[in-house]
Amino acid sequence: MPNVSMTVNGKPVKADVDSRTLLVQFLRETLRLTGTHVGCDTSQCGACVVHVNGKAIKSCTALALSLEGADVVTIEGLANGTHLHPMQEAFRENHGLQCGYCTPGMIMTAVDIVNRKGNELDEHTIREELEGNICRCTGYHNIVKAIGAGAKAMATGGATAKAAE
């Protein structure tokens, strides 16, 4: 089996993998980082979103072998120790989750939206940007609120956010 090495949540990792292994399978099964979820098989739901080299991707769409040397951040790597990332805190504060299954992907997407669009996000922008993430529980109302609040908090708590990234 071919070998792959990358950095995941700041730590170097290396493993032999079946060549068809997807990044999400590598994270969940090889590294046992089960915070990244699989909600569909057509790259529609966004439960598997992680950051690769600073950008959000759906980890069900990338082969692990194609990411040799990549820098990957998953939901497990977002907080700074026990100090939550402002976006994580915003989801809790605004009740932006119910069953929690889509949440890791939502939070990783949300951080990416802020990275791309800045800290002042209007409702329309947030809703448009969430096109690739499906939640069945919340009706999105509180997710939209959480992302707006989290975006603002990232401006002031940016140091934490940067350190975690």
Binding site: D18, R20, R28, R32, L33, T34, G35, T36, H37, V38, G39, C40, D41, T42, Q44, C45, A47, T74, I75, E76, L78, A79, L84, Q88, F91, R92, E93, H95, L97, Q98, C99, G100, Y101, C102, T103, P104, I107, E123, I126, R127, E128, L130, E131, N133, I134, C135, R136, C137, T138, G139, Y140, H141, N142, I143, V144
Partner: protein, 789 residues
Amino acid sequence: MSVTGIGAAVRRKEDFRFITGKGQYTDDVSRPGQTHIYFVRSPHAHAKIKKIDAKAAAGMPGVVAVLTGADFAQAKLGGLICGWTVLSKDGSPMKMAPHPAIALDKVNYVGDAVAVVIAETLAQAKDAAEKVVVDYEELPAVTDPVKALQKGAPQIHEMAPNNTIYNWHLGEADATAAAFKNAKHVTTLEFINNRLVPNAMEPRAALADYDPGSESFTLWNATQNPHVARLVISAFIGVAPEHKLRVIAPDVGGGFGSKIFIYPEEVVCLWASKVVNRPVKWTCERSESFITDAHGRDHVTRAQLALDGDGRITAMKVHTVANLGAYMSTFSSAVPTFLYATLLSGQYAIPNIYCEVDAVYTNTVPVDAYRGAGRPEATFVVERLVEAAARELGVDPTELRKKNFVRQFPYQTAVASLYDAGDYQASLTKALEIHDYKGFGKRKRDSERRGKLRGIGFATYIEACGVAPSSLVGQLGAGVGLWESAEVRVNPTGTVELLTGCHQHGQGHETTFAQLVSDRLGIPIENVIVVHGDTDKVQFGMGTYGSRSGAVGMSAIVKALDKVEAKAKKIAAHLLEAAETDIVFKDGKFSVTGTDKSVGFADLALQAYVAHKFPTGEIEPGLKEGAFYDPTNFTFPAGCHICELEIDPETGETQIQSWTAVDDFGTVINPMIVEGQVHGGVAQGVGQALLEHTVYDDKGQLMTGSYMDYAMPRADNLPSFKVDTTFTKCPSNPLGIKGCGEAGAIAAPAAVMNAITNALGTEKIDMPATPAVIWATINKMNRMREAAE
């Protein structure tokens, strides 16, 4: 109210693990030496299995075993069951066809399992599954429930002639017919309540582990009711005796009904884990869940409303054909009957109602309870009829509603339900005010100036939650009781473990239940932990569905807390050398009335376990109490939802402009969580009305089998919601709770379609009102108008 007590918007205790990726869902659990199972499924909707050749598959790399329906049959295990018996009009029982976990000689829908491959890895199991050769003889299929009843339709189960499961009815046929004869106005509507796929974001999953040493099984399963799963798997299927089967439902990623039922996959995993003597893991893929998770709704209905000259409703007549799919799922029979027809009176005093329901088999995925289960269908009938009647009579739809509201409680409906409390006028009035109904005319004119069609629609809904009492559901045919259990374990240090038979899969019980315990015992909420979802920890419980956890589950907790307090008072009396009747318990302290003598809760807990100074003949050591609670009635949440939307006639696209929800849920434990439940429910209802459609072709192939074809509501399909409440206390349980989990999904489809039909000026449009459907409807209306001119 304390900052964490009843009524406080406490932030959720469970969130930390979810936002940090530390949740533990079934697929996150792995066992040493586990194998992976892959289900080979029928590509045909209806076919005979002539032969299965598994030899090549068995020889593939990594394959541990290939098992078929014949192997399962040889194990002499039972089939899957429907646990609620419904009788036909003539008294005959429903025709429950055999449902083997793996098909033996015939398949009845695309997705029916025919074999399983167990291998070292999932990829190996899938590769080998390609080599399982199944020789089918294809049969004609039927997917439309009305066609399934017609002469000459393909017959699915021998024991159910004409594909009929039951012909059921409720209400008075003759009195209703007489009222229609005397009516001044009759409104008639025909519609389809579209079939939906529940789509909890966590796909179903099962991990079975057999321990030959103790001859016992452990099953991790994404289920809403682990104890019911264990009971059915033991008592009816017989894989393992109940005391040797542990079912763990860890974190579960949404259910919406679809994870209530006992499915073939968990049964097969359990059986297979003993056959191969290794743990067996199955995780559903999304495309697989589209063709195996029980679907929802799928009614074809003709409904009529009779009114007198004064605008009072005098009668209602409903005929529904309900598609139950290829087999009867666990509670499927109850959904289009007792959960549907019993709510047809809506919020209105309707003296005569008659409802007939024909349930049929088709070559489709089995249909069962999905968020609301029968009540969204009933609300759709009632609220579409009332709205259409108001338009036909030229009166304001809110006025017609007001004229017919039930105002005296208790109110006995013509369809068995006994409404215990409510104030329907109050929720309507508040909703109209919040929504600025008066300003609608101006907003409509503004839209017209921009070339848009604006519509407003109402749903003044009622629903029934906390299905109970057990004696009543027993009379109605349920195979189970619908009580709930709780156990309060006070530790020597004064912290508390609360064990509940409910199960959370998004509802936030770990917070709300802890709020109740903390409030009552006067201890910090951090000192309470809620234990659920494990049959080894919680003795028995009925699980979570039908918005029952607040009304029924929390009532059981209250009852257990009553017992804890009673025993603690006995202990306090002893410790404080006072009469038990003189002990007062307040803010976490037991005091002797009229003195300054007191003992705190934690100190008392320690004394209860140390028991050094106990007269043990009178007081047992320890502080732990359990309770079973059986409610006296259903609860009846009700409210008013208003949908205002704008349609672009050029594209047929609908934009919801604003949504107002005013609900009466009785006592609210945590308003933040309750609002979240309303948001989510409304989103699912809007999904049904505007987006979601389950389409089968004539051969029984599911055309909408992924998120590429099945339109799930996304953030940009929905508005932010204005949510508020009114309050009448539920008299049927100690906390006065009514339940909030399904209200949004119940009210929303009717509110949306009333707004769409209001905007378009026609009643003839079915859900989902997609842009294509609306565009076609507008064009058809234009052509008819032109032809008339």
